[in-house]
Amino acid sequence: MSARTWIILAIVAVVIFAIGGINTIPRLEEGVNASWAQVQNEYQRRSDLIPNLVETVKGYANFEKQTLTDVINARASATKVTITPENLSDPEAMKKFEAAQGQLSSALSHLMAVSERYPDLKANQNFIALQSQLEGTENRIAVARRDYIAAVQDYNVRVRTFPGVLWAHIYGAQPKQSFTATEGAATPPAVKF
């Protein structure tokens, strides 16, 4: 190759370097990982509230056994499904995670809906405190999920568009999985009696 071709190639390389930024993809990936960690923290926080909640509710005579068992089982299977940062590009892993946590969400919202029928329980100070903690945690989960979605979007746009796509090729960076469920899915379903 002639000297001129080399110079042009060098200029192109410098331009890509300048625009793409060699550190951008790792930096955005760190952002994705951090916000994922936050999502898992908040789900963990919810999980940690459940034993206390179950214990409180159990004390009330003839509280629906099935509702409690559903919550306990859903919690047990949800704690088994975690995603490490390396697996965030795996759509199957994300689907499993979503399914397990979604199951727990609906079991919990059913429990809260059923508790409406027990005036004594609703007046219990311990239960009131747990209820507000659960509400707060659900809200934290919603915020953490939105932050994660935003971080993944930043990262994926960079990985899929020029010049980031070149760096992605070099690093072997894959697009990350976002949440598929809409925000509406986080609101408790209506329970009819």
């Binding site: 405190a129 507000s132 809200n139 915020v143």
Partner: protein, 232 residues
């Protein structure tokens, strides 16, 4: 020409960002009474108290009343407002927003990451249910806001939530005392109008304006959706 171009670019940018995020009020102090539920005196007094609290602890507690939530839930609006203003110090995230939306009849205590351990969801809920909402329901918005803010400060200072069901007696004593003071002051003012004017202007305008200008605004803290909400 250049100026017009710059303005155009600015407006374009502004419209673009305004479209993406809800419109937030300007952070003018520790009390942002956008919905006009507080009297001037109460707002100033509360602002002063929260400012002194921040000086002592670096915790930022901001009271904000909103004329509209712009179609969002108060939970959704709250954490975004906290992040937008950057309430709390950077790295400590020790900020708290006490948000009142009278038109939607919603109230929320939005707690920054760093204060979640002290001002928990349960205590936030206790403050709202036990102190704020009873006053709102009986139509005394101002007292609900002032007492709610006071309770937040007490909890952050390590105290429990004290729900006083009736301190009407204390408040009548206070208002009688206030009336006596007012009469005494007026009779004094009738004799020495000039000194009375000086006293008034000094305490009202001199003090608060110098305090307001020294505040640096939000410290860059962040929020993750902790706290509690209520409606009436």
């Amino acid at each position: 020409m250049m100026r017009r171009l710059a303005l155009g670019v600015f407006l374009l940018f502004f419209c673009a960002t305004a479209h993406a995020a809800p419109h937030f009020p300007v952070l003018t102090g520790h009390v942002v009474d956008d919905a006009n539920v507080l009297s001037r005196d109460a707002a100033q007094e509360l602002d002063q108290k929260l400012m002194e609290y921040e000086r002592g602890t670096s915790n930022q507690v901001i009271v904000v009343t909103l004329s509209s939530l712009q179609g969002l839930t108060i939970e959704d609006y709250g954490y975004q407002l906290g992040r937008y203003w950057g309430i709390g110090q950077k790295g400590k995230n020790n900020g708290t927003l006490f948000i009142v939306a009278p038109n939607e009849r919603k109230v929320r205590i939005e707690v920054g990451y760093g204060l979640e351990g002290v001002l928990t969801d349960a205590t936030s809920s206790q403050i709202i249910q036990g102190i704020v909402l009873p006053n709102f329901k009986s139509g005394d918005m101002e007292r609900g806001v002032v007492d709610g803010a006071q309770a937040i400060l007490e909890v952050l200072g390590g105290h429990g939530v004290v729900v006083s069901s009736s301190d009407n007696h204390a408040s009548t004593v206070q208002s009688v005392l206030g009336l006596i003071m007012l009469i005494l002051f007026l009779s004094f003012a009738a004799r020495h109008p000039f000194i009375a004017m000086m006293l008034l202007s000094d305490s009202r305008f001199g003090g608060s304006s110098s305090g307001g200008s020294s505040w640096g605004g939000g410290g860059g803290g962040s929020f993750g959706g902790g706290g509690a909400s209520g409606s009436w």
